[in-house]
Symmetry: C2
Subunit: 151 residues, 2 copies
DNA sequence: ACCTTATAGTTGCATATGAAACCATCTAGA
DNA sequence: TCTAGATGGTTTCATATGCAACTATAAGGT
């Protein structure tokens, strides 16, 4: 008997479509209004959450390519949204942190992206939302073991 | 008071990371073993699920760019995995369908990708899985209203 | 029938992206 | 402390990708 395969029920495909669609819509906010692309947005968000980080740490956390991060950081630095300072402990690495304008921009951005998220999940009732978050966490856990630099 | 933002809890970011990670691992299967890239794989999967489709239908269903699909189809046709036939009803469009070797290849691929999916969710118990699937469906529903050709 | 506008698909071009080479610095071992 | 290999980051290069122009056909209005 022939093996039946339904793409729309295939989990990786569904995750991809959802991610693509949400990213696409979200990027309208930070692209059009703040001139940021996805890597730049992720860098700002990471620095906002964690204070100071190196590019390498961001690479690992976002599964991005290091050249992507390098270019995005360069652009953010040129726009004076992020500053790079050498540290004594390792002169190869640069400590990245938000500048005052960088923080300001991010603070303007936060309510917008949170509103987007809220809108995204507003159809789900409490149980559904809880189930979704638990399920995602489980998937994340299931993918955790093998950490790489990716791509 | 300062707006707190935690990227790791931000739903679009989590979806992106999960999608990227799963795609990456899945693509190892069809890239290395069958020489397919993501668009090609999606085209095969769609044709396998639905029989005959036009490129345009695949564009809409996969949120891909039409040039991406055009090139991927051209490649699949060159490899004799897919055939293109003109129809009387619309001479612009080409009806795509799997060739015998295309079907054969896909039938070899199916168990592998299903095994991958199974492995991905094996950590989740029944309740978690059900919650995840329901949640994803709700998100899909929530994104449904605005359909476009994307990008 | 004719003309305008829309649509399916392909292709040329500019840009974005990843791989790999590269430089500087760091670490570990002889 | 010298050397070999690893690591952070940048840059060069090849390739992939999206956009826009284009061809062919279709559909709708007059």
């Amino acid at each position: 008997m022939k093996q039946q395969f339904e793409l729309n029920n295939f989990l990786p495909f569904r995750l991809n479509m959802l991610a693509q669609e949400t990213s696409q819509r979200l990027s309208v906010i930070y692209a059009e209004r703040f001139g940021l692309d996805i890597p730049q947005w992720r860098i700002l968000a990471n620095l906002a959450s964690r204070g100071s980080m190196t590019a390498q740490e961001i690479v690992v956390l976002t599964l991005s390519h290091k050249s992507t991060i390098s270019r995005a950081v360069a652009e953010l630095a040129a726009r004076k949204l992020v500053e790079r300072t050498t540290t004594d402990s390792d002169k190869r690495a640069l400590a990245l942190r938000l500048t005052a304008p960088g923080k300001k921009l991010f603070q303007e951005l936060v309510p917008l992206v949170l509103a987007f998220e809220k809108n995204l999940i507003k159809q789900l009732n409490k149980t559904e939302l809880q189930g979704l978050l638990t399920g995602l966490a489980a998937l994340e856990q299931s993918l955790r073991p093998v950490k790489r630099e990716v791509k």
